[in-house]
């Protein structure tokens, strides 16, 4: 395992070192010590490596990630995993706002709660949150899945497109053009798989699915108030 002390070696050296890891690197496991809430840790990675961050992170940890697994052994700041393309992010603590914003792919797992705007404009990522999520989550969500084992705050899925939301607990309110949907066998299957991949125990049958009512898909003056 490679160890990297962020406090003594600095952010530029860290990201430069991680970017230098090629597809075939044999230095596959990294440990970052003393993150101390620093911003932009392990951003823009593009190699099948595992990065363990030993503490809490600031803004945009693992931003635009491809292939890598970034494991945050603490809580994560705003915009963690923004625009992620593939790979995996595991957050042992809580996640701040805009988790996985505009992310295209991969899996984000939060063991604690996620704050407001979780999965905003998500474009294909899967996000699994063991606790609760805050208000305006998955605003304008385009595709991908947001799975919540706890409760969701106000205005879930506002103005969403084809993203799907599965919530086990209560939803305080649904946003514009978001509605409750039928749980079909394929949704149960999907949940079974994603929960297993996220390492979480929950019965798929206990979840409710939400998604776009598709009333805002083509402009209609009678819906003008909803925009």
């Amino acid at each position: 395992m490679q160890s990297f002390d962020l406090e003594t070696e600095g952010l530029r050296a860290l990201n430069k070192t991680l970017h230098a890891q090629a597809e075939t690197t044999n230095q596959t496991v990294w440990e970052i010590t003393n993150p101390k809430g620093s911003h932009a840790i392990a951003v823009g990675l593009d190699a099948p490596i595992e990065v363990n961050v030993k503490g809490s992170t600031g803004y945009y940890c693992a931003g635009m990630n491809k292939q890598a697994t970034v494991h945050i052994h603490g809580s994560a700041g705003p915009g963690t995993g923004e625009n992620m393309m593939s790979g995996k992010i595991i957050i042992e603590g809580d996640a701040s706002q805009y988790l996985g914003a505009t992310a295209h792919g991969g899996l984000i797992v939060v063991k604690g709660n996620a704050s407001s705007r979780c999965g905003i404009s998500m474009k294909g990522v899967n996000i699994v949150v063991q606790g609760n999520i805050g208000h305006m989550s998955a605003f304008m969500g385009q595709s991908g899945n947001l799975v919540v084992l706890g409760d969701a705050g106000d205005a879930l899925g506002d103005s969403c497109y084809e993203a799907r939301f599965f919530v086990r607990g209560a939803v305080k309110s649904l946003g514009a053009d978001c509605e409750k949907k039928e749980m079909r066998p394929e949704h149960i299957e999907f949940l079974k798989d994603i929960l297993a991949e996220a390492g979480m125990e929950a019965k798929p049958e206990e979840f409710t699915r939400y998604g776009s009512a598709r009333n805002l898909y083509n402009f209609d003056v009678d819906n003008a108030g909803a925009y």
Binding site: L11, R12, N15, K16, H19, H39, A40, V43, G44, D46, G58, Y59, Y60, G63, M64, K66, P78, G79, E82, N83, M85, Y98, A101, T102, H104, R117, I120, S121, K123, G124, F139, M140, Q142, S143, S159, Y161, E162, L216, Y217, N218, F219, V221, A224, Y227
Partner: protein
Amino acid sequence: MKDHDARGIPHTTPRQSATFSQDVNSDIRRAAATGIYDIRGGGAKRKVPHFDDLLFMGASISRYPLEGYREACNTAVTLGTRHAENPIELDIPITIAGMSFGALSGPAKEALGRGANAAGTSTTTGDGGMTPEERGHSSKLVYQYLPSRYGMNPDDLRKADAIEIVVGQGAKPGGGGMLLGQKISDRVAEMRNLPKGIDQRSACRHPDWTGPDDLEIKILELREITGWKVPIYVKVAGARPYFDTTLAVKAGADVVVLDGMQGGTAATQDVFIEHVGQPTLACIRPAVQALQDLDMHREVQLVISGGIRSGADVAKAMALGADAVAIGTAALIALGDNDPKWEAEYNALGTTAGAYDDWHEGQDPAGITTQDPELMKRFDPIEGGRRLKNYLKVMTLEAQTIARACGKNDMRNLEPEDLVALTMEAAAMAQVPLAGTSWWPGKDSM
């Protein structure tokens, strides 16, 4: 019409209201018929104080001119010298502004790249991501980082020669956008991760940051992802130019792009375009003042856009302190947008050449602002690129002509002292004397 009534009393001349003009009345009738605001492309059409209201004084006994065909006048500028390892070196101070694939056809984007290349300048992506044609045909390509993040990915980000974080657009400071379903072809839909044929709403605000402190961290992230190699521009609308420029510089921008209200958009509400934002002319001096107050003028470059049409406009913007300008609408016209040769078809769409602005509907007779394969065939990207190159060359020659007449061997040596204003408004905005005086409104309070 008789000039008197049956009793022999003369009619008064029918009088149109200045307040309720025919234009206004047609807007009211349209609103009453549809129940929805008017959406259109382009920038502000209202008359506002502009570069036309400024004049250069030229040389005289106290200042001698440079020989037009003998003495050099540099037009090259380098953008992004503050932090980037690889700043952008341009042969001319005129760049092509961001316009999206989606709003424009693929061949139109290709033509912009071809024209910009041939003239030695950069072009810019838009709210729809980077296409391979555009990357392939643009030797210097600025990648826009927008609130919607349509088509955004780290691979394209690393292919960019510069990154432009778009905070605002002159046509609609504080507004998002909507690409109507009829322009969403399979390819546009795929690039934006959305179903085909549905309206695509573009957010007005970035999803993962708000405010100047966040912006500083966002810039740090983008620099870390791209290894501090390429310049990072911040584009703001002409709203609060002094503060926006100050905050962009504080957040770490290499270049500030400032777009006044005459700057175009692919589609937004007419009321937004005409009533929100400040004229380009009013924005330049406050932005330059902000840079000077921070001791960053020329260190952070300023690019001005919104209604740049000629070499005279380029020279005037630069005399007021800009390092370069960007053109969008003018570039489209050079490609053939609103050409009178399509007049019959413009008429069929209820408009006329020069006034066509329903770019969002995808029925552009010139085949530029469309995704319709048949209409797109009307536009030849090689010919379009050649026309754009010609236009850029003419603008550059015009700007040089003026600069030499003012005795400058570099475009950036033009200065406010070379200018006078024709109107009180322009004098106040540009902070140059009203012609024939040594005074402008507000001068004594400065």
